[in-house]
Every structure is written in structure tokens, then in C-alpha cells.
């Protein structure tokens, strides 16, 4: 029984009146339901509450799970969690049902000679995988092994430790298909991969390709709303008029792939008119004169032709920024337009940091902030000592030198399967095959591996390609390591175990990689329980596992952020770098200049862009019935097309259209709308599941990545997920 258990008696005492009221109304409310179950709870029924962290997206919002008679019944966002602030989004509510999904993986699977999966024992799975791992290491060394994982509190720790214990440095996040270019580009300018725009306190914030209302983190939505209600000037730069429009003053429908041109031109305006923070630039930066010289090439009149935004608008936006500075910034975005989308994404990120530098807004109220974080200190217990640092460098590091090593270029690892540089790959919480780049090419590359192991909760498209599939518990069925969260007041939060394991033969991620390590002969690095490590980590920051279980979230107020002075930038020069030696060495311009996208739409072609809908996370939630039903009810698989373009092509709202390019052809209905830039076609990024074992998601809609050519961004290694052009025509026309 949980320490947070509410006794049946205490729970009902406060609700007896409501029971009578609702019972009279003829339906079964929660209280009536409680009452009814009180009588048949022969199994010692109880209501308990457990703090956990949502797993529906990377935000990992904290919430309180209510469990009645062992079953999850309710979710309420934790008010003191910095991201949830007492709320959850639709994905959070819906994705909790993954625990009870009928499509869960329940046993370890091995692909047989006919290409069909058959259930095997854990022992057999471990021993066969270990045998293959050893064979690969013996023949080619540990660097022929690689891991791809979308970071989660326990997963990121155990996957890395497992690979490092084997001697491989090839640990990759999903980043190349997410925010690798953005984080790497920003690092070149400001020495860190991101910052926080102080949206709620700003006088002006510009969002480029990011929508808080579509890729929801509750605290961000609240900040945007607050800014709007206080009269801040909120600008959305996006080829699609996204749902944040409700809290924005203007939508700037830029031609996709040209955000860099807009930022260069706005910078040109500030420099030309001397409307930048000269004092800040003089004291805290290097290379300004060189960039200023480059900027002369990019007046608004030039950018108009590239971006489709009138020169007047560009000049006006720049001057409005100057007026609002330093309580203004371009928001750092995440994946959006320049996380991994184009040939120029890393350089766009770099230029945005430099533009913010012109505003002098770093660490200023309403500007762009470097908020503090806390992490676990050094652990004295020798069992937790790190394995020896692997000798090699990540595969792909030489070809894509600007890619942050904390993420790496997972596509380069997959590419290395082509010539056998990489022979074995592991995947955790990653659906690379369906979501990272061209699906046909990825299937071909991963098909060349000698060993492919996938750990997941459902049969993803990546799992379908694997030799072995190991069934993870859902996030609700395990305790994980504490999650440290940076912010104005840094915090730490816990994903505790909410419910008992639903399928007895599934195992939690910490156990899977510990046991796999044991089988591979490196078990000495895993002789501890996840609870022991969690407690040890928390002790280093003055907490304990028991204490954090009680509260779910704990804050570090002594580390609170204070507005004011510019930070020491973690660049080689300890200043903001208008010029970067590393960029120059990687073949780019020392100071950011205009870089053309890899492809441009010609004639009737449209650029294919993706993006989130508020109810889904990539391909991970499409099989959740609550969420997919919304997709079906509102026909959300439709591609969005500009109304004038549609008229020219004879396409009416709701028509079935054929979307086609050199990579793929498929049919879907069209949404004809005023909300689209005429050079683009928007296809939501969640659909087109090709795994028949995902019964809810299978074959609903089209999959963006089927249309995206396999191509990596030079120097940065991003997946170039929007370097695709397509044609659209009405079916039967």
C-alpha cells in the first residue's frame, strides 16, 4: 500500500453529499462509482495517489495518478511541477492508456527464418543477443555497436551506461530528427544549446516555426497567454497559421526554409540604423564587424524575394524589436522550423542567437534567459562509478563536426550500416524507422545490420525491422531515476511506479539493460537497483527517494535565477561569437550568411512541411484510441493547402488528393484553407502507421517521412525533414 493512500473511509466522508446528489441524477459519477466499488472491493480496495511524470512527450509533466483497486482512474497535473503547473494536455490524458493497450508487447520476440516473430524466453533473448554482441566486438570492436534512444529519465542513463560498458561511444539521441541542428548552431554562437525566452514578461516575442498551442507544454501556453493579455507583441513566423494565433498579434506566413533570410534582414536593419545594443556588443562579443559586413548583403528588399514577406514588414518588425529591447527576443524553438528541417537549420539557429545579442536581451527581464539547473553530484558508492570512457569517437562525428556529441547524428550511424562500420544497433523508446528520415532508405540500411534489438512497449515500425524485440513496461509500471529540470527555480521530479506490472513477462528498462549487460559480460557496472541509484542521486542534492515520492517535485530556491548581468558564455572565447572558428573549419562561413535550402519548389511543386497537432506526439500516440478517435472525428489526417493554390489545381475542401514525389505517392483528403503559405503543403507528422499490430493506427493517413529524401544537413547532421517537394492533384481529375 502506498504511503500516499487515501483510506476509503476518509475519501468518502467528504463526498457523501455528492453521492446522493449525483445518484439522483441517474448517472454514475466518480463518487458514486467509488461508493459502488466500496461494496464489492473484496480484494481490499483502496484509493491511492502516486506522483509520476507523463511520457506522452519530452516535457515529462508531473501529475498525480489516482489508482482505485489497482487501476489508474484519474490524472491531475501537479501544481508545483514547473511544466505542468497543475494541467495536462490531451496527449497526457490519452497516453496514460498505453498501460492497458491491447497492442502492448508482452513477451520477448525473435524473428525466425521466415521473417516472423516468435515468443522466446528472456534467458534465450539475452544469451543470443549477448553472443552476437560478443561476435561483433571480437570481429570489429565495440565501435561497431550503436544505440539510438529518445531520452527518458531511466532510459538515457541505462542505455548510455550499457554502451559505454561495452566500450562503444556510439550513443545517439533522436536529436538528428528533432533539435540537433538548433542546439548545435546555438552552441556555436552562445556556448549552449538553448535558452528560455521570458515570454510572459516580454514586450515582444517572435516565434519561428514553433507553436506552444500545438506542441503543448502547459507552462508555455500559460506564459504565452499571459504575455498576450499583458499586451506583448506576439509574432508567429510560420508557413502555417498555427493554433497559437489566438494569442498572437500577427501571423507572418514565411516561405518555408527561408527563416534565415528573415533573421539576416532584420539584423541588417538594426545594424544599418544603429539600433542595436552597442555597449553589450562591445563588451560581450567577438566578430561583430565581420558579420556586419556580411549583413550588408541582406537588406529587407532582398529578403522579400526570398521569404515572401514584404520588405516593409521586415523593416517594421526589426524596428519594433529595437523599441521593445531588451524585453524582447526571438524564441529559441525546439524542432519546429530549424531543429532539423533544412540545409540551413543550424545556421538559422546561430543567426537567431546573434539577432538576440543585438537586442542586448540576454538575462534581461522579458528577454532571453539562461536559467540555472541542478544535477546529481558525484556518487561515493563504487557501484555507481562510470565505465571507462570509450576510446573511439561517435560514428558521424568526423563528417558532421558541429553536431553536439550529447546527441550525435543517428542517421550517420544508420548510414554506417551500409559499409559495415556499424553492425549492431539497439533502440530504446525510438521509432527511427518511421519518424527520422526516408522510411524506405532506413529500412534498407537497418536491414544490413547483423544485430538489431528494439526495446519498446508496442510493435513500432522500427521494432518490425528488428531481430529481437524486448517488451518494456509502460512508464506507469516502474520507478525511474529522478529528472532534473532547469528553470527560473530549478527542480527535480520523480516518475514513481503507479500501477503493478500489467503483463507479467514485461520488464522495466533499467532491468532489461542491467540483465543484458550481465549477459554480455559487463554486469559489474549494473549491480544496483534503480531505487538505490535514485536515492543516491537525490542524497547528493539534499533529498531522498522517500521524500521525493511524497511530493513528486522538489525545488531548489537557493539557485533561483536573477535578472541582470550577462552570463559568461561557454564558447571558446567566452563571448558571444558572431564568428565561429569551428563553423569555418566545418566548411561554413565564419559568420552566418544566407544558405539556400537543398531543394526549392518549382512550377506546381509545393514544399512538404510537417508539424505537430496538439493531440499527438510524433508517431508514438497514434495507436492510442482516445487520441486517434479525435483524428477520425475531425479528419485530422488531411493535408493543408492554400485556398488559391487549391482553386488553381481544381481541389475543393475535403477532396481526396494524390500527393506525389520521387520518393512516394499516396492519397489523403485535403483541407483547403486560408491558413497556408501558397508554396507549402502541410502534412501532420503523426500518421501513416505501417505496423499491422498497432490496430488503431494502422494505415490511417499518410506518413510524412515516406516523402522525405534521405539527406543530412552539412556540418550539423540534421535530418533535413522538410527538404522535400511534392505535387498534389485531385484524385480522378
Amino acid at each position: 500500500m502506498s504511503e500516499n493512500a487515501i483510506t476509503r473511509r476518509s475519501f468518502l466522508a467528504g463526498s457523501a453529499g455528492a453521492v446522493a446528489l449525483t445518484a439522483a441524477a441517474g448517472y454514475m459519477g466518480f463518487d458514486a462509482w467509488e461508493q459502488a466499488h466500496a461494496d464489492d472491493a473484496s480484494g481490499g480496495g483502496e484509493t491511492k495517489t502516486v506522483h509520476t511524470l507523463c511520457n506522452a512527450c519530452s516535457s515529462k509533466c508531473g501529475y498525480t495518478a489516482y489508482v482505485v483497486n489497482g487501476r489508474l482512474t484519474k490524472l491531475i497535473g501537479d501544481t508545483d511541477h514547473p511544466y505542468s503547473k497543475g494541467k495536462l494536455c490531451a496527449r497526457g490524458y490519452g497516453y496514460s492508456q498505453i498501460a492497458y493497450s491491447e497492442d502492448r508487447l508482452t513477451d520477448p520476440l525473435k524473428k525466425n527464418g521466415q521473417g516472423k516473430f516468435e515468443a522466446i524466453s528472456w534467458d534465450q533473448a539475452y544469451s543470443e543477443i549477448a553472443e552476437k554482441v560478443r561476435a561483433i566486438i571480437d570481429a570489429d570492436g565495440p565501435q561497431a555497436l550503436a544505440m539510438v534512444q529518445d531520452p527518458r529519465p531511466s532510459g538515457k542513463y541505462y542505455t548510455k551506461r550499457f554502451m559505454n560498458a561495452l566500450g562503444s561511444a556510439n550513443v545517439y539521441t533522436h536529436g538528428a530528427a528533432c533539435n540537433l541542428s538548433k542546439e548545435s548552431g546555438m552552441t556555436q554562437a552562445i556556448g549552449t544549446g538553448s535558452y528560455s525566452s521570458d515570454v510572459a514578461n516580454s514586450k515582444m516575442t517572435m516565434f519561428i516555426g514553433r507553436s506552444y498551442a500545438d506542441a503543448i507544454r502547459p507552462s508555455s501556453v500559460v506564459a504565452l497567454q499571459k504575455a498576450h493579455e499583458k499586451g506583448a507583441h506576439i509574432v508567429l513566423v510560420d508557413p502555417r497559421c498555427n493554433n497559437s494565433r489566438v494569442f498572437a498579434d500577427e501571423w507572418v506566413p514565411i516561405n518555408p526554409g527561408t527563416d534565415l533570410a528573415l533573421v539576416l534582414a532584420m539584423s541588417n536593419v538594426l545594424v544599418t540604423h544603429g539600433r542595436y545594443d552597442k555597449e553589450f556588443v562591445a563588451a560581450n562579443t567577438v566578430g561583430f564587424d565581420e558579420w556586419a559586413k556580411e549583413l550588408a548583403e541582406y537588406p529587407p528588399e532582398w529578403a522579400e524575394g526570398v521569404t515572401g514577406i514584404p520588405a516593409d514588414t521586415i523593416a517594421r518588425l526589426a524596428m519594433e524589436f529595437a523599441e521593445a529591447a531588451p524585453a524582447a527576443s526571438i524564441e529559441p524553438s525546439w524542432r519546429g522550423a530549424f531543429g532539423c528541417s533544412y540545409e540551413n537549420s543550424g545556421e538559422t539557429a546561430r543567426a537567431i542567437c546573434l539577432f538576440n545579442t543585438l537586442l542586448g536581451c540576454w538575462n534581461q527581464k522579458g528577454g532571453a534567459l539562461f536559467t540555472p539547473s541542478v544535477s546529481a553530484g558525484k556518487l561515493s558508492d563504487e557501484r555507481f562509478a562510470d565505465p571507462k570512457k570509450p576510446e573511439g569517437k561517435q560514428v558521424g562525428a568526423a563528417e558532421y563536426p558541429l553536431a553536439l556529441s550529447s546527441m550525435g547524428t543517428n542517421l550517420a550511424a544508420a548510414q554506417a550500416a551500409e559499409d559495415g562500420t556499424v553492425k549492431g544497433m539497439f533502440f530504446y523508446n525510438s521509432n527511427m524507422a518511421a519518424g527520422y528520415s526516408n522510411t524506405a532508405k532506413l529500412a534498407e540500411l537497418l536491414g544490413k545490420l547483423d544485430l538489431m534489438v528494439v526495446v519498446d512497449v508496442q510493435m513500432s515500425e522500427t521494432a518490425m525491422l528488428a531481430d529481437y524485440v524486448l517488451p518494456d513496461t509502460s512508464y506507469l509500471e516502474r520507478l525511474e531515476l529522478p529528472e532534473f529540470i532547469g528553470g527560473k527555480v530549478p527542480a527535480v521530479a520523480l516518475r514513481d511506479q503507479v500501477i503493478d506490472v500489467v503483463h507479467p513477462n514485461t520488464r522495466p528498462v533499467d532491468r532489461i539493460f542491467s540483465e543484458l549487460a550481465e549477459a554480455c559480460g559487463v554486469g559489474e557496472y549494473f549491480r544496483f537497483g534503480v531505487d538505490e541509484l535514485a536515492d543516491a542521486q537525490l542524497q547528493t542534492v539534499g533529498l531522498s527517494l522517500d521524500a521525493l515520492k511524497q511530493t513528486g517535485t522538489a525545488h531548489f530556491p537557493e539557485k533561483e535565477f536573477a535578472y541582470g548581468t550577462a552570463p559568461k558564455f561557454k564558447t571558446p572565447t567566452e563571448k558571444v561569437q558572431f564568428t565561429s572558428e569551428a563553423c569555418e573549419k566545418a566548411g561554413l562561413s565564419a559568420a552566418p550568411v544566407w544558405v539556400e535550402p537543398a531543394v526549392m519548389p518549382m512550377g506546381d511543386e509545393l514544399r512538404l512541411i510537417g508539424g505537430k497537432q496538439a493531440i499527438h506526439s510524433h508517431t508514438q500516440t497514434a495507436n492510442i484510441e482516445d487520441l486517434m478517435q479525435i483524428t477520425k472525428d475531425y479528419d485530422l489526417t488531411r493535408v493543408w493547402i492554400n485556398a488559391d493554390v487549391a482553386r488553381r489545381l481544381g481541389i475543393e475542401d475535403g477532396d481526396e488528393v494524390e500527393v506525389s514525389n520521387t520518393q512516394h505517392t499516396g492519397r489523403v483528403r485535403a483541407k483547403v484553407t486560408q491558413r497556408m503559405n501558397p508554396t507549402a503543403l502541410y502534412m501532420p507528422s503523426h500518421y501513416g502507421c505501417s505496423s499491422p499490430d498497432q490496430h488503431t493506427a494502422y494505415e490511417v493517413g499518410l506518413r510524412q517521412m515516406d516523402f522525405v529524401p534521405f539527406h543530412l544537413e552539412p556540418a550539423y547532421g540534421g535530418a533535413c525533414t522538410q527538404e522535400a517537394v511534392v505535387t498534389v492533384k485531385k484524385v480522378g481529375a
Binding site: A25, G26, Y27, T73, L88, Y93
Partner: protein
């Protein structure tokens, strides 16, 4: 007795569907039981576009057409003014669905009966559980629930301040008010 009502401010609605899914989780509904449905409006022409999402649900009408047409008394107006469904009496004829001008009654394919928004905020508030009903779930505070007869309630004050109106005027004496 309180006369419960709701205010929905579409100027704050981001169309995120959190209220729908929270409602389904709160009330243990089927994925197809959407007690909240949405209408999306797009106005203006490119690039000067405005968007609006209007969440619609049972308006708990004082002149409830569903109750008027229900042949068995399954659809009824309770003593507290909340429009209810007595599942045991419902024969699944769907007259109420046809009669509802707001098209917010939903057929349960498992039980064969019809259901809709229950104003569950009442039970959540009185029991102190404050579970994730649509009001609690809304990220932007677009929804306010309360007693329309209490001039000091948040909802009464907000209706007065914003001149919130029922979605279809005086049609059915709806108790859900909209700011648009």
C-alpha cells in the same frame, strides 16, 4: 438551490482537445463518446486570418428538447436543473439526438444508450476531489463553472463583464454562455 451554468471564452480556446480527453478519462467514457464537440471557424483571407474554436456540449437547457421528446423519461431535467439521462430507462431510440439543436448527445455503442455532458464539475467540486473535468483541465482558463443565480459567483460576474451569450440565443434557455 444553485442554478449551475458554464461560461466558455473562445478567445482563450486554443483547440487542443484537452477538455475532451480529460472528460473521457474523468468519466470513464469510450473513445467514441465525445461529450464535447468542436466547431472550427476560419475568417479573413490569406494572410489576414483569424481562427476560432467553439467547444460545444450539453447546454443543460431549461427548455430541453431532449427531455421533451424522450418517450420514456430517460432524458429529464433534474431538481438542480442539470439535464440527466436515466440509463435504465433509455431505449436507444435516438429521438433526443435528433431533437438536440446543438448535436451534443452521443450514442454509446456498447450499452445502446445515449449520454452527454453531466456537468460533472458539480460532483467534483462538492466532493472536493476537483478531478480533471473540462473546467479543471482547460490550460487557458477558458471555462468557468458556477451558480448563475449567485450574482457574486465568478461566472455571473464574468457573464456580466463580457456580455456572454448562449450559443444560439434564447432558443432553449441554455445555461452555457459564450464569449466570442
Amino acid at each position: 438551490m444553485a442554478r449551475y451554468g458554464m461560461l466558455i471564452n473562445t478567445k482563450k480556446c486554443i483547440g487542443c482537445y484537452a477538455c475532451r480527453v480529460a472528460c473521457q478519462r474523468q468519466n470513464d467514457l469510450l473513445p467514441t463518446q465525445d461529450f464535447i464537440r468542436y466547431e472550427e471557424h476560419e475568417t479573413g483571407t490569406y494572410p489576414n486570418v483569424a481562427i476560432e474554436t467553439v467547444p460545444l456540449q450539453c447546454m443543460h437547457c431549461e427548455d430541453a428538447p431532449c427531455a421533451a421528446v424522450c418517450p420514456t423519461g430517460a432524458a429529464y431535467i433534474g431538481a438542480d436543473g442539470i439535464v440527466g439521462v436515466d440509463e435504465g430507462r433509455c431505449i436507444g431510440c435516438k429521438y433526443c439526438m435528433a431533437a438536440c439543436p446543438y448535436q451534443v448527445r452521443v450514442h454509446n455503442e456498447k450499452t445502446g444508450t445515449v449520454d452527454k455532458c453531466r456537468f460533472c464539475t458539480v460532483s467534483a467540486e462538492t466532493s472536493g476531489t476537483k478531478m480533471c473535468s473540462c473546467v479543471e483541465a482547460c490550460l487557458t482558463g477558458a471555462r468557468i463553472f458556477g451558480d448563475l443565480d449567485d450574482p457574486a459567483s465568478d461566472i455571473s460576474k464574468e457573464i456580466a463583464a463580457t456580455n456572454a451569450q448562449p450559443i444560439a440565443g434564447d432558443l432553449t434557455k441554455s445555461k452555457v454562455f459564450y464569449v466570442r
